[in-house]
């Protein structure tokens, strides 16, 4: 499923948190191919969050290139990076993914609000949201307030939200750690089904090596990134 140009390409990336001299991250080289399912393993403090922020473009690298879907993020302004993220990347957090006061359908449609191209790919957004919910085994809860859902349901709504409008890359940060073992397996089954159906690249960051068998590739954080942590 992978073709020539990688969806994600990082080269000689360096980043240091401004004002916090104690932590810096270097990524000499990292890639993910189109349609590839990659598990990035690392303990907390290994720079996972910083790496994800760099890929998503909410922070800009001090040096080096982050290229996503052929676009160098450093060529874009802050606002353009936000727009690019909305168009290109679906994001799933560990938990608290949803706006608690919004309905399920509001939450699913939220990224389309910021991504006109993604919006254009979906002819009937509400029908699409309903179809994704159905495929993810969510009961008929479209108009329910997100806060009333169980954690497992909330995570599945987050998947629907990440998938809507078919962004080429989905990034998930410990998406299963808030779930119990049974729910984890069921959740990953659903996630992989959908990612495969939509032919999307999936990059999951986790500390849980047991998830590894489902992925095309498992990468250790320590192998691709160097972090330095000095006492301030």
């Amino acid at each position: 499923m992978t073709d020539g140009t990688p969806i994600l390409h990082m080269k000689d990336v360096r980043f240091q948190w401004p004002g916090r001299a104690s932590f810096s991250l270097e990524v000499p080289s990292f890639e993910a191919g189109r349609g590839e399912k990659v598990l990035l393993l690392g303990e907390s403090g290994s720079g996972k969050s910083t790496l994800l922020s760099l890929i998503c473009g909410t922070i800009a690298a001090d040096a080096g290139d982050v290229t996503i879907d052929g676009t160098r993020l450093s060529d874009l302004s802050g606002g353009a990076r936000d727009q690019f993220r909305a168009e290109t990347i679906g994001v799933i957090f560990q938990q608290f993914n949803l706006l608690p006061f919004g309905s399920v359908v509001d939450n699913i449609l939220l990224p389309l609000r910021f991504a006109p191209e993604r919006r254009a790919r979906v002819s009937d957004a509400r029908a699409e949201a309903a179809a994704l919910s159905l495929a993810l085994g969510l009961p008929d809860v479209q108009t329910a307030k997100a806060a009333t859902l169980s954690v497992g349901q909330q995570q599945r709504v987050a998947v629907a939200r990440a998938l809507i409008g078919r962004p080429p890359l989905i990034i998930a940060d410990e998406p299963t750690s808030a779930l119990d073992a049974n729910s984890q397996a069921a959740f990953l089954d659903l996630l992989f089904d959908q990612v495969r159906a939509h032919d999307t690249t999936l990059l999951i960051v986790s500390h849980d090596a047991r998830l590894g068998e489902r992925f095309d590739r498992v990468v250790q954080m320590a192998d691709i990134a160097r972090t330095t942590e000095r006492a301030a």
Binding site: S49, L52, S53, C56, T58, I59, G78, G79, D82, Q83, F84, R85, A86, E87, V91, F93, F96, N97, L98, L99, P100, F101, G102, S103, D106, L109, L110, P111, R113, F114, A115, A147, R161
Partner: protein, 416 residues
């Protein structure tokens, strides 16, 4: 959808938002209420007396003369002798003259002695005259006509007897000469409503047995004897004067002010009213200033509410950021919420104002003779409301800027 999310976010924090809306609503209602009272008072004030060209009294200040002769507030420093009164009445410029004699009271209401001409000459709100709601004007020496508030407050009807007390807050009553209510005036919204009107002769009659403000011990002249006596007044407190031609007003005023026999003062009611308003107006402006500060306080409360919600909403902002919202979208969302909150406060404040007006209007009217009209908000009031909403947006900029910085720093990851 953003509007719906903003509404949802507000609803999720219903309690604090409601409190903020209430604070803004109350402050807006207070501000507009003070504004209403101010304009209402000004209009009521200017409308209290019309058709009278000059008010004449003993020499004091024009405001004081106006206060006691028209508003029945305070006392005359001195009276005008009957001789001077007649001299003025005889002047060629004078078209009509109505004497006023004050100094006695009935319960909390002032008693005013005058002539029947008062009922024709006293005008208010441009050209409205006094009308009787019930009964007739004084016919007998011991007849009294009462204002509508007197009748309503004390529950009097025509033919009820009333006893006039000497002085204003006195326990000495003119018990020997009880009056009969001959008529009740319709409501005017002027101090006449709170006045008991008797004839000039009646004022003389009840003071037959009195000297230097005290009852002569043991002396009590029977009513029949009083009726036979010469009850020509010895003095009047003030007089309302109408001139033949408006052009003569100033000449007559000068003549009275330079009257050689006695120090007198003649004032133009309109000028004195304006002067009085100048004094009262300062207090009103101060009140308006204070209520403006209350509005500012409520808006600062709005700002504090948004500030304190920022921390608990960092997660929410991170979600928006992850979905591709720019930091300035998040800022706009907060400002939008503030605008919705202050708009709700402004609308509710107007509702409070009208509700309060509907409840308080009759009470204020009867208690203070102040008529507050209930009508659609004026352009000025609409501008005030718009100003409140705009100010809400502006003060929310401060926490919104902080949210902007937080969301730039946090990105999608909330570090707590």
């Amino acid at each position: 959808m953003m509007l719906r999310l903003a509404f949802g976010s507000l609803r999720a924090r219903a309690l604090t938002v409601t409190m903020t809306v209430l604070a803004i609503a109350l402050s807006v209602a207070l501000f507009l209420g003070v504004e209403k009272v101010r304009t209402g008072a000004k209009a009521s004030f200017a409308d209290t007396i019309s058709g009278t060209d000059l008010i004449v009294g003993a020499r004091s200040g024009s405001v004081q003369l106006l206060l006691y002769s028209v508003f029945r507030i305070g006392n005359a420093t001195n009276n005008v002798t009957w001789q001077s009164y007649q001299d003025i009445a005889a002047r060629p410029e004078v078209d009509w003259i109505v004497p006023i004699s004050l100094g006695d009271s009935h319960r909390q209401f002032r008693v005013m002695g005058t002539t029947p001409a008062f009922f024709d000459r006293y005008k208010y709100r441009r050209d409205r005259g006094l009308e009787l709601g019930d009964g007739a004007i004084m016919n007998d020496l011991f007849d009294a006509v009462i204002g509508s508030d007197v009748a309503a407050t004390l529950g009097y009807a025509v033919d009820d007897p009333i006893v006039v007390a000497h002085g204003l807050a006195s326990f000495t009553e003119h018990k020997d000469q009880p009056f009969r209510i001959s008529g009740i005036l319709k409501k005017t919204g002027t101090p006449v409503d709170r006045t008991v009107i008797v004839s000039m002769e009646a004022i003389e009659a009840i003071h037959v047995d009195w000297q230097n403000g005290a009852q002569i011990p043991g002396q009590s002249t029977p009513v029949e004897v009083i009726r036979q006596m010469d009850l020509t007044p010895k003095a009047v407190t003030a007089a309302l004067v109408g001139v033949e031609s408006p052009l003569q007003t100033f000449a007559l005023q000068r003549a009275i002010n330079t009257y050689p026999e006695e120090p007198l003062l003649a004032v133009l009611p309109g000028v004195a009213l304006q002067e009085l308003w100048g004094i009262v107006g300062i207090a009103e402006t101060a009140l308006l200033g204070v209520s403006a500060m209350v509005v500012v306080t409520a808006l600062l409360g709005l700002m504090a509410t948004i500030f304190s919600s920022l921390n608990e909403r960092r997660r929410e902002m991170a979600i928006f950021r992850a979905m591709g919202a720019r930091p300035r979208t998040i800022m706009a969302l907060l400002v939008l919420e503030a605008v919705l909150t202050s708009a709700a406060g402004a609308i509710l404040g107007v509702a409070f104002l009208y509700l309060g007006l509907m409840i308080a209007q009759p009470m204020i009217d009867s208690a203070y003779g102040l008529w507050l009209p209930i009508d659609a908000p004026s352009t000025r009031e609409a501008l005030v409301l718009l100003g409140v909403v705009a100010a809400g947006a502006i003060v929310s900029m401060v926490p919104a800027l902080r949210a902007y910085r937080l969301s730039v720093a946090d990105g999608m990851m909330v570090r707590t």
